[in-house]
Amino acid sequence: MRVGLFVPCHVDQLWPEVGFAALALLERAGVEVEFPAAQTCCGQALLSAGGRSEACALAARCVRVFDGYDAVVAPSASCIAMLRVHYPELLGGADAEALAARSYELCEFLHGVLRVPPPTHAFPHRVALHAGCHALRELRLGHPSEGGPAGEDPVRALLAGLGGIEFVSLTRPDECCGFGGVFSTVEPEVSCRMGLDRLDDQRAARAEVVTSSDPSCLLHLAALARRNARDMQILHVAQILAGPRT
């Protein structure tokens, strides 16, 4: 199986460790992984800013760049939601449908497709799972608290085997962190209030680590945490799963 690794633009530029953790996990699972360097961005930020035609152009490009891989895997639920939910609607046609059908969020791929056994190295920490909205409400990788279509949460399933891990319970387990792409800068006050409420909830639950399958949520929460002197460790799930070897 040939996997094309999709590295979100914000991971590529701001958080390369996440890309390498994803790469390591896929290689360890025994698949042939390649990072096609022609990729740039899935276009969700442009779509969210009203740039439908620009997003279409990037979508068409992305379909071409990832042509030929058996699966396209990204350590980002929001990018995969873009590929799976929005590309068919933006582009129409068989190629977009075919890409959508073989695009996976990393944990979804490892757990649901490759069925790798969850790692068991030590991670004796209280962990808050941040349910990203794209993972939960677009890819349906979990149970939304408001009800609606649901599925298994591969993030929790993969983390569950780690030695000493403890999942904290939050008062609002799946409220949006407030990043929302362009929303974070168009409505910064509301965006920050939403993020701080997540951090407060996590702190009240005495979480040591905050994790998610969405790096954009985590970058926003980390930036808020730093400015507001919150000392929780914010890690992408790939980093936790890849363990101390990376």
Partner: protein, 453 residues
């Protein structure tokens, strides 16, 4: 002023904002419990969505059938192209009946048409009898939520208002005492009213009847005491048959407040003995919206308000920050259709979390419609030229991996070199509440390429 600026204003009172968020969240939780108790909840949503979309597709047929059947029950049916026509018709009916004292139960449509100011300017007294509506009427402000109009107010504020307007003791803020005062005041108004106006929750095409749901019983008090009943409805409020009512009724109150049913679900077929019933069918932009494939779905809304209760942005900004008749997620889809430049900021008052789509009883894909508005409005909106230019530049860079990589590397270099106060100035909306993002020396692609060599 944009939603963003009003929201920032709202958040300055952190304690009040937290309280407002908490009030609405508890309504969301009540809705969750009520929905979980109905095993066929998702099937009901699907059925409601299918029924409403069917009616919307066949609207001319259902409207004329409704008119015919309502007339057979001796209701008088009027048609209004727009708000002005609606107001003229209502005014005309009141004048004809010699009615100068009117009571009104909740109708967002009359809010949309600006009926109250129209009548008041012409010497007709119109009193809102829904307690929340009455409170905001006395305060001369808009409702901040379509189901809980006064949810933005603390009891002390309502106490002060009632002290000034109803003569309650100064400092009295107990909700029961205040409600009792309103009960006495409104009881007198019901008894003295010469006409009663209501909205319509559902209009049944097959029977020609209208259904009004209240917890207070004010629609009933307002229509059994005076001889004239005027019911105002948007043309989209139709459902095909009486047998379809349970689908909607089982969803409505649970979605709105977590109750199984409102205290009163009143069905009107023609006037009461000795009275008259006039039904005003209002278009006011609905036919236009129906003709737009991307937004027509918004007309299936049954006005439950669940989207507002679940919306993390609404809860933290308050209904008034939308500066629209209907706020929240559904308002952000409906209002730009009415006034694109006035409401251009509303589709952006959303983090696209998708929770509204999950709670909507008629399965309106609100995030999809909000995104469609963003694309539409960026064509000609003010400030749109800059945004459009920015999007073109972004596209240019992202279509060329070497340009993108260079721009990325340059931006990170600049961020590492420049003093933070330059980068984190007032001009930078990111840094108003957050630290700058990390600036690693090398990108993933650079390191990957290096590794491969």
């Amino acid at each position: 002023m944009s939603h963003a600026l009003r929201a920032a204003e709202f958040l300055r009172d952190a304690e009040r904002a937290r309280w407002h968020d908490g009030s609405l969240w508890s309504l969301r939780e009540k809705r969750d419990r009520a929905a979980a108790a109905v095993p066929d909840w998702e099937s009901l949503r699907e059925a409601a969505a299918a029924l409403k979309r069917h009616v919307l597709a066949e609207l001319p047929f259902y409207l004329t059938r409704f008119e015919e059947r309502a007339q057979a029950h001796r209701a008088v049916v009027h048609w209004a192209r727009d708000a002005a026509e609606h107001n003229q018709i209502v005014e005309g009916l009141l004048r004809e009946a010699g009615a100068r004292r009117v009571v009104k139960s909740k109708s967002m449509l009359t809010e949309e048409c600006g009926l109250n100011p129209h009548l008041e300017a012409r010497g007709i007294e119109i009193v809102d009898t829904d307690l929340g509506e009455r409170i905001v009427q006395l305060r001369h402000e808009r409702p901040s939520h379509i189901v809980m109009p006064a949810i933005h107010l603390r009891r002390q504020e309502i106490g002060a208002l009632f002290h000034a307007e109803l003569g309650t003791p100064e400092g009295e803020s107990d909700p029961t005492a205040l409600t009792l005062a309103a009960r006495h005041d409104l009881r007198a108004r019901f008894l003295g009213a010469q006409a009663g106006l209501t909205g319509v929750n559902f209009a049944i095409a097959e029977t020609g009847g209208i259904v009004v749901c209240t917890n207070e019983g004010n629609a009933d008090l307002g229509t059994v005491l005076p001889p004239l009943h005027i019911a105002c409805m948007g043309i989209e409020k139709l459902i095909p048959r009486a047998a379809d009512l349970p689908v909607f009724l089982r969803l409505l109150a649970r979605s709105a407040t977590g109750q199984a049913q409102t205290a009163y679900t009143s069905h009107f077929h023609g006037p009461r003995p000795g009275g008259a019933l006039h039904i005003v069918l209002v278009d006011n932009g609905r036919s236009g919206l129906r003709a737009r494939a991307e937004f027509a779905e918004a007309l299936t809304c049954i006005r439950c308000g669940a989207c507002m209760n679940t919306c993390p942005v609404f809860r933290r900004s308050g209904g008034h920050s939308y500066d629209a008749v209907i706020p929240g997620p559904i308002g952000s889809v409906l209002e730009p259709a009415r006034a694109p430049s006035a409401h251009a900021s509303l589709p952006y008052a959303c983090s696209l979390c998708g929770s509204c789509r999950d709670v909507c009883p008629v399965r309106i894909d609100l995030p999809k419609q909000l995104l469609a508005w963003r694309a539409e409005l960026s064509q000609g909106a003010p400030g749109g030229a800059l945004r459009r230019a920015g999007l073109r530049v972004a596209r240019f860079a992202f279509e060329r991996p070497r340009v993108y990589a260079l721009v990325g590397a340059l931006a990170r270099r600049v961020a590492r070199v420049l003093p933070e106060r330059w980068l984190a100035g007032r001009w930078n909306p990111w840094t108003r509440g957050r630290a700058l993002p990390p600036t690693p020396p090398h990108s993933f692609r650079a390191l990957y390429a290096r590794r491969r060599r």
